[in-house]
């Protein structure tokens, strides 16, 4: 019997004034009852409009149908046909602009909570499934994967399941990419990511951490070592700065540095050896997911005041709505239509303030968003002692610079065919943020999947 409530089942969450002091997960997940109740809101539309909104075309009505029947394991099995990281995507996908934006229930109320249901089924499986994944006998072909982010992990998993011997090379000391060094614990518990990586290892995937491709080993040497194809999923980890005066003062971080110190090096735990500036008042410059994460981490590290400083208006912010709302609830202050022009330092070169100007929205620019223009004479000084620059990242040129024949576009992104990931060099494939620039987990995963299929065809066709 369909549930005709116009509203989604609320997601149980930690209270804002509690969670803004801890690093535990904010959203607690549906109970079985809530999940079944929410699943009953799905009409099981024959033409499946929602599926068209999912970059990897998960059969949404089918998996939700299984939740209705309380066959949670079957729901999971449907999810994992298209997605190798459903517990991750259910948590971090920008559902409101993807699957849920196409849901017919969204016309007269709120759409079905597809993401929450996906998370529920994936978590249920993790908690209850026992059997170890079956190892596939080797077909004798070796493939190398560069980077252990969602793109690389997905590509490696799919190839291993098809019988290839896969080795992932990861520059950092821990696998997971942005999932471990960027997205904070309170949004994506690291145990979930670790679990996915452990599963891959059980399948037989080798994960070699502490190997920087382009430095420790080059792409050419990988071929010499007997790898027949290579997938590059090295992400877009190079931080941008604004190039305004004062950016090298003490207390100015790139979001990457701040989040890496906090998440990967666990600066928030008692026994971490990694220092972090415990600032009183923090300004985070930018309006994306990265900025929201940095702001919410800063709050949790004990800052009295955290500001998001964004040059356009609230409506243009690229972050997921849920993250913006969560940040607001937790007490992050939003200074929109505001742009920094200079960071001010004290006599010891520590940050003591940030000069900003107010903006207004003018004519639309190339991106279709209204261009922010400075309001003359509106400058003022914001009282802050730390600034976190979160204005975007681009792909690291390290691999491109050391690999002959691997071409990039003017933004530094590796050029690759859209549906196969084939680069300008034979047997070298690429996908994820390294190709698109900073994007999403699900797109990176989808690219890894497509490349795995293409690599399989390439090797079998040789």
């Amino acid at each position: 019997m369909a549930n005709m409530s116009p509203k989604k089942n609320e997601m149980p969450v930690q209270k804002p004034d509690v969670r803004n002091k801890n690093f535990d997960e904010v959203a607690l997940g549906y109970t079985e009852e809530q999940a079944v109740d929410e699943a009953n809101r799905c009409l099981g539309c024959k033409h499946k409009p929602c599926v068209g909104g999912c970059p990897v075309a998960i059969d949404i009505p089918a998996f939700i149908g299984k939740i209705k029947e309380r066959d949670f394991e079957a729901a999971y099995q449907i999810l994992q046909k298209q997605s190798s990281l459903p517990a991750v995507c259910g948590r971090v996908c920008p559902q409101e602009t993807q699957c849920e934006s196409r849901c017919v229930r969204g016309i007269k109320g709120e759409p079905v909570a597809i993401g929450r249901l996906e998370r529920f089924a994936a978590d249920w499986h993790m908690k209850n499934a026992k059997e170890a994944p079956a190892k596939v006998p080797s077909n004798g072909h070796k493939v190398a994967v560069v980077g252990a982010g969602p793109a690389g992990l997905t590509c490696a998993g799919d190839l291993q399941k098809a019988g290839y011997e896969v080795t992932i090379f990861e520059a950092l000391h821990k696998a997971g990419g942005v999932l471990v060094y960027g997205i904070p614990e309170f949004r994506l518990p690291k145990a979930i990511v670790q679990r996915e990586i452990d599963t891959l290892k059980e399948l037989g995937v080798k994960v070699d951490t502490n190997v920087v491709i382009g430095k420790t080993i080059t792409v050419d040497e990988l071929f010499e070592d007997g790898f027949e194809a290579i997938f590059i999923g090295s992400g877009a980890g190079l931080p941008r700065f604004m190039n305004i005066p004062g950016e090298n003062l003490k207390g100015v971080y790139s979001a990457n540095e701040f989040l890496t110190r906090t998440n990967l090096m666990k600066a928030y735990t008692e026994d971490s050896a990694t220092p972090i500036v415990h600032a009183r008042k923090v300004a985070v410059v930018g309006g994306g997911n990265v900025a929201m994460d940095a702001a919410r981490c800063a709050l949790r590290l004990g800052a009295e005041e955290v500001h998001i400083v964004y040059r356009r208006s609230d409506a243009e912010m690229p972050a997921r709505r849920e993250e913006i709302e969560h940040a607001k609830e937790e007490g992050v202050i939003f200074d929109t239509l505001t742009n920094p022009v200079e960071i001010l330092g004290d006599e010891h070169k520590f940050v003591k303030g940030m000069r900003c100007v107010r903006m207004e929205l003018g004519e639309p620019d190339e991106s279709g968003r209204r261009r922010p223009v400075t309001i003359e004479g509106s400058d003022f000084v914001m009282d802050v002692d730390a600034v976190i620059m979160s204005i975007g990242t681009s792909p690291n040129p390290l691999i491109h610079n050391t690999t002959e024949g691997l071409e990039t576009n003017k933004r530094g992104c590796i050029i690759a065919e859209e549906d196969t990931g084939l680069t300008t060099r034979e047997a070298v494939y690429a996908g994820g943020d390294a190709v698109t620039g900073a994007a999403t987990v699900i797109l990176a995963m989808g690219a890894g999947k497509n490349a795995a299929k293409a690599i399989d065809r390439y090797i079998q066709g040789k």
Binding site: H173, V212, K215, P239, N248, E257
Partner: protein
């Protein structure tokens, strides 16, 4: 895990270790560095590749005990393992084509200067080495340097060994005596490099320095290692660590190096206490 094959105390605060790291050894070049973590809860710290042996698959590091991580590292012995060891990182020193070079090392900076001097010597370049230490007790690598130098000058601040004075005094003396250099390579404390650069600027001698700002990833991801060089922001871990010393903003680099002073002192004291407790 990476095994420590050999440990040798060079002086009371400087230790040499040889680590089994075949992949790193295969590619290492003078001027490059590695990043290590001692254990699972440890910090990532960069150390220069002081020497390497491609055949044996080993990397030599020489470190000064200055804080918590280097203290912890120094408590390990041959046969123990390091959690993480990644490299070679950074751009190798440009040594090709140089005919006559003055290599200047200050304190533990000598560990970074030595592989460069050795490589220059192997390439047939005339190498004049000036090394400086606070006092006789702290001298390291003297024999190694002598073996690759056509001229060798030892300086100590207090005159307890070699000549009394700073490395800049020795360099100036050499230049004034008529020596000419294609390049000066200066590696040591920021303040030393700054003053060497001031001196060589006067004589118009190109000077390369090796910068060692605080680093995390060492691959260009965090931007924590940024410096101003020639008015532009550079990442020491990928664009360097070697830079044209006449373009480096040393004052800014010195300020940035002190960012975590209080935290570091606290960690160091905690670590020392920890080890004292273990002993008792």
């Amino acid at each position: 895990m990476f095994e420590i094959l050999k440990k040798q105390e060079l002086n009371p605060t400087v230790t040499l270790m040889e680590i089994a790291a075949p992949l790193v050894a295969r590619k290492a070049e003078p001027g490059q560095f590695i990043i290590l973590r001692v254990d699972e809860a440890g910090e990532r710290i960069p150390l220069t590749i002081a020497d390497f042996d491609r055949e044996k698959g080993t990397i030599t590091i020489i470190f000064q005990i200055v804080g918590a991580t280097t203290e912890k590292l120094n408590h390990l012995k041959a046969g123990d393992h390091l959690q993480d060891f990644v490299g070679p990182l950074g751009t190798p020193s440009h040594v090709e084509g140089l005919k006559k070079v003055a290599v200047i090392g200050g304190g533990v900076g000598c560990a970074i200067a030595y592989p460069v001097a050795k490589k220059l010597h192997q390439l047939g370049c005339e190498v004049h080495t000036i090394v400086g230490f606070r006092n006789r007790e702290l001298v390291i690598l003297e024999d190694s340097f002598r073996a690759v130098s056509d001229k060798f000058v030892m300086m100590t601040d207090d005159g307890s060994y070699g000549e009394k004075g700073l490395v800049t005094n020795a360099l100036q003396a050499l230049i004034e005596s008529g020596e000419t250099y294609d390049e000066v390579i200066a590696i040591g404390p920021l303040i030393m490099m700054k003053f060497v650069c001031k001196l060589t600027e006067k004589y118009g001698i190109k000077t390369m320095v090796s910068m060692n700002p605080i680093m995390i990833d060492g691959t260009g991801m965090c931007g924590g290692c940024r410096l101003t060089v020639g008015g532009k922001t550079k990442f020491a871990c990928v664009d360097g660590p070697d830079f044209d010393g006449h373009e480096v903003d040393f004052d800014e680099a010195m300020e940035r190096a002190s960012m975590y002073k209080d935290f570091e002192r606290h960690q160091y004291e905690e670590t020392c206490n920890l080890f004292q407790k273990e002993v008792h």
